[in-house]
Symmetry: C2
Subunit: 290 residues, 2 copies
């Protein structure tokens, strides 16, 4: 089997597959790259996970995820910052263990508005401040902190960073150790998205390009509203060409949260992910290898 | 009973109340203004609805709704444009029948991406074009077409106009007969929202200010995710002060789609709407009467 050389399977797309199985299925289907999550890595232990990743021959395209930076000062905020320090180190170790071309990219989800408050403005300031605390450490580790703007329907409880421009405005307050994630699911609706992609690319801050689709009606749990590329309303041609035009040449992850897809047979999901990518994303890439 | 002199009850907040009952409850609770919907008006007939509105002594703050402009050229698009012509005329008649200070404002919901396509860009162009077809007619009727940006979670199936800046960019291609709706539920998350409100106000294009709250988790049907002001995460102080600072002195509608609230006793809902407005919106208004 084969898959596009720039395609990476985000591990969450086969969420219930054990760590080893995820590596085996991904490599077996001809993928060259995988996006990992901290929890399954922790389940096998960082050193062991790094060894198995190395054995798999796969690149790592990103580690999900750090962030959750919106709490006011206090022990919980300190614990969150410390957790991110560990995530930076994990990213460094895994990227060193992955095949050549691995990306030391830690995806950051900002966090929501603290419960019982309406402090959106303060929450956004605290995200910037937390990244400020971590940037030097990331730089020293050779890790890129990749701020992922999430769809505004998650602004209340998950991510107060809602647009690519907003993520980039934060990133540009720091050096190249802070970048942004361009995830089609989160930003496709944004009237400013093409200008924002161009700006992020020109600044050299696109740390990751992730693709999955949006379909309606939304499921009861809006966290699980993602689909295979091509199964929804997103114009992958326009968005992929825009990212491609910036010169972004890294891996492209497919990350799907969808209960039906999670319940499907893992080899089916891995194959379907590769074919949907080949159909609607790959034709718009001018750079074929990482 | 009394209610704030600028508070208007959008009829959809007591969706299941018959037309007469909605007028009676609203006026009886001390409101001076109501926002009407086309369907209940059609149920009693336009002329009769206008007579009853006049009898009630209430102002009308807006008529919901026109729009649904995203289909490509063809009979369905022509039917949608014609439907909006009728809506303009209804707005004119009702505003003339309402008490002094009534607003001849027709709320426009853009419409979603045509089924089976990914044509977001074309859909947005067709919204602008449709408004271009209707603007002269609206001007002649003394009606303001009020483009309502809807939350991006509705961009796929309901409204391809997703931000206040985007709505304003369309409105500014026309004269003052085209304005925008500032609805807290739809725009609270937008990092650019305060600049956009200032810009809309400076251009004299704020045609309506609507308030309701956002809470998580979202219900299974995300159309019904609205709450009384104060029951969610929205900072009504910051948004109301921003609208107030522009000099906007019109009615302020509370429009809530929420099955639990719809199932509650109508007088309870009407009273609770007034008290929540008094608690979290009214304190931030410098202009007390319309």
């Amino acid at each position: 089997m084969s898959a596009h050389p720039r395609l990476s399977l985000n591990q969450a797309t086969i969420k219930y597959a054990p760590f080893d199985e995820a590596l085996r299925l991904t490599a077996g289907a001809g993928y060259e790259s995988i996006g990992l999550w901290r929890e399954p890595v922790a389940d096998v232990g960082l050193a062991e996970a790094a060894r198995r990743l190395n054995d798999s021959g796969l690149r790592i395209s990103s580690l999900c995820r750090g962030g959750f930076f919106t709490l006011p000062e206090g022990p919980e905020r300190r614990a969150a910052i410390d957790e991110n320090r560990r995530a930076i180190e994990e990213t460094r170790v895994l990227a060193a263990a992955g095949a050549d071309g691995s990306a030391a990219v830690l995806v950051l989800v900002a966090g929501g508005i603290p419960a019982g408050t309406t402090d959106l403005a303060g929450s956004r300031e605290r995200v910037r401040d937390a990244i400020g605390e971590l940037a030097a450490e990331a730089r020293a580790a050779g890790v890129t902190l990749a701020i992922e703007p999430l769809h505004p329907m998650y602004a209340s409880d998950r991510a107060v960073v809602s647009t690519l421009d907003q993520a980039l405005d934060i990133a540009l307050q720091f050096g190249p150790e802070v970048g942004v994630v361009v995830d089609t699911f989160h930003i496709w609706w944004d009237p400013q998205v093409f200008a924002a992609i161009e700006r992020a690319g020109a600044a050299g801050r696109i740390a990751s390009y992730q693709v999955c689709d949006w379909a309606t009606p939304l499921p009861a749990d809006v966290l699980l509203a993602r689909h295979y590329p091509g199964d929804g309303v997103i114009d992958f041609s326009a968005l992929t060409r825009a990212v491609d035009a910036t010169g972004y040449a890294g891996d492209i992850e497919v990350e799907i949260f969808n209960e039906t897809i999670w319940d499907d047979a893992w080899p089916t999901v891995v194959a379907r992910t590769a074919s949907s990518f080949a159909d609607v994303v790959a034709p718009h890439l001018s750079v074929l290898t990482t």
